[in-house]
């Protein structure tokens, strides 16, 4: 009987440990999930320098600046904003399950996504572009990539686009754009491809300033919108806020300060954009 008791107590301990651990997990969020009107939950990228980046309690980047401005116009002060990480693969889920109130995370407006979520904006029109070393003037567009080494993120559409257009390109797939930029700096690859503003953000970090150049010859159009839950009533207000931000110069300021040192000029034909009509 002695052994039996011992076994049960081991099992009980294990169960107790499991409970404590899950309890910890639940407590981490801090928020109670329900929108109590006092705060707004905004989804951003945490790992995209220049757009959305988390450094402890500090959040920086163009997406973050736009989000702060819009939230301010909607009547939320900065400390009423609750930032939530929104990785690309989770964005629709987070909106559908009411995990966030809005998403500013390099979120392209597409018809497929419009079926499950609503969009306000766009607040920026990005396009696929190339990042090259500042002293390399041999690459000025995808057509110059034949026989060159190009880096992109595993399974991304940007990589596929280039491969279709220039079959002679050597494609390296890495798990993050920072890996790609490291390879570019060391000469392992000759160019990195993804949306121009993401490249500009990467090139403007303190360590990379002045080393790289965004080619500025975009070959796709990505309209970054504000992701909203389906049927949201905030679209009009957000659009108004975006227009105001563009009009009073805050938009331009945010863009230049977040891409400083990257030798980058955004596509002025398409920017600043006019927000599209809201869905409903």
């Amino acid at each position: 009987m002695h052994h039996k008791k011992k076994l049960y107590s081991v099992a009980a301990m294990a169960a107790a440990a499991a409970l404590t651990l899950t309890a910890c997990g639940g407590g981490d969020d801090g928020g109670d999930g329900g929108g109590d009107g006092d705060s707004v939950r905004i989804g951003i990228k945490y790992d995209q320098p220049g757009l959305g980046f988390s450094d402890g309690g500090e959040y920086t980047g163009f997406d973050v600046d736009v989000a702060k401005y819009v939230a301010g116009e909607l009547g939320y002060s900065e400390d009423q904003i609750e930032w939530v990480e929104a990785p690309s693969a989770n964005r629709e889920n987070m909106l559908q399950n009411n995990q966030v109130d809005m998403i500013f995370a390099t979120y392209s407006i597409t018809d497929a996504r419009k079926e499950t979520v609503d969009f306000a904006g766009p607040y920026f029109v990005a396009g696929q572009d190339l990042l090259v070393r500042a002293d390399d003037d041999s690459i000025n567009g995808p057509e110059d990539l034949d026989g060159k080494n190009l880096c992109s993120v595993t399974g991304s559409t940007s990589a596929e686009n280039v491969r279709e257009e220039v079959p002679g390109v050597n494609l390296v797939e890495q798990s993050g754009y920072a890996d790609c930029v490291t390879m570019l700096g060391s000469g392992g690859v000759d160019a990195v491809t993804t949306d121009d503003i993401i490249l500009a953000g990467l090139a403007s970090t303190d360590a990379n300033q002045g080393q790289f150049r965004v080619v500025g010859n975009t070959f796709s159009e990505e309209k970054y919108g504000v992701g909203l839950p389906k049927g949201s009533d905030q679209c009009e207000d957000i659009n108004a806020a975006i227009e105001k931000m563009i009009d009073d110069g805050a938009w331009e300021d945010a863009l230049t300060s977040n891409t400083e040192g990257a030798d980058y000029q955004y596509n002025t034909e398409l920017n600043p954009p006019t927000p599209e009509a809201c869905a409903s």
């Binding site: 499991a18 997990g25 790992d47 450094d55 402890g56 989770n90 987070m94 798990s175």
Partner: protein, 289 residues
């Protein structure tokens, strides 16, 4: 041969052997130094040896905002996965020892299946699969995908450990239990399992090292564990090689501590049972109480 028998393999070196060894060592050190010189020179050309890329690793900001939260997330996922995989292993390990053919058959299939499927494949499946069910809040999806993937694979391995642990016990243990009138399941619970668990403890701790190491796969499915936060720090500051190196060092230190614990447990337990059970090739023989 035990470890002390290692020097049975060769005679103690004579003066000539010692001299040769000395020359060999010096040449070896010189070769390594030359290689290191070339590599460091190359890295210096690439600007990887700039002081700020390294000093930044030891700032309070790096640790408070990136490394420590990452370590915490790694330990959190590993901790829960350890508990769940032990429970999973107990259930299916005992299932494989069951008297009922159906239970035994089902357990065997489950264990063999999950032992054969790569952890990463399970993690990707759960990551993309759970999200669609809506059972778990999306921000917690990567966490549960990591934990479930680790639980199924390592649980299956632990089930095997339990089964082989019980099988490696001397047959007399079970027979003695039956002779005094206990049923098969009583024998299993009261006599065999406690001994098997003691015997498998070192292997169990080694398995925990595997769990801890495999949480690093979580970065592929955006779980913010140590490797992922090291990458994030490195992408913000342009020194991803250095931050990854620091992450590797942290992993080695934690796992080395666990491995040493396993080795100590193994020698401690076999010392406790010296002379009581005949030595087998299986993990340390069980303690007889």
């Amino acid at each position: 041969m035990s470890s002390k028998a290692q020097n049975v393999l060769f005679d103690v070196q004579g003066p000539r052997g010692r001299l040769l060894t000395l020359i060999f060592n010096i040449v070896g050190v010189l070769l390594v130094a030359a290689l290191a010189w070339v590599v460091l020179g190359k890295l210096a050309d690439q600007g990887q040896l700039q002081a700020e890329k390294w000093t930044q690793l030891f700032t309070a900001r790096s640790w408070n905002n990136f490394f420590l939260p990452g370590i915490l997330q790694t330990l959190r996922a590993a901790g829960l996965a350890v508990v769940l995989s032990v429970i999973f292993g107990l259930i299916f390990g005992l299932g494989r020892l069951s008297q009922l053919t159906i239970v035994r058959g089902v357990s065997t299939v489950v264990v063999e299946f999950f032992r054969a499927v790569p952890v990463l494949v399970m993690m990707i499946f759960f990551y993309l699969g759970i999200g669609r069910t809506g059972l778990v809040p999306p921000s917690e999806t990567p966490f549960w995908a990591v934990v479930l993937g680790l639980m199924l694979y390592n649980g299956a391995v632990i089930a095997e450990l339990i089964r082989s642990g019980v099988h490696s016990l001397p047959r007399g243990q079970r027979e003695a239990g039956l002779v005094v009138g206990m049923t098969e399941s009583q024998v299993l619970r009261a006599i065999l399992l406690p001994q098997a668990l003691t015997a498998m403890l070192p292997s169990l701790v080694s398995q925990f090292v595997v769990i801890l190491k495999d949480t690093a796969l979580g970065y592929i499915i955006t779980y913010p564990e140590l490797l992922a936060s090291a990458r994030r720090l490195g992408s913000g500051d342009g020194n991803i090689l250095q931050t990854l190196l620091m992450a590797a060092v942290v992993f080695v230190v934690i796992n080395f501590a666990l491995t040493s614990l396993a080795q100590w447990l193994s020698s401690f337990l076999s010392y406790r049972t010296a002379g009581r059970t005949k030595p087998t090739t299986a993990p340390a023989p069980a303690a007889v109480k």
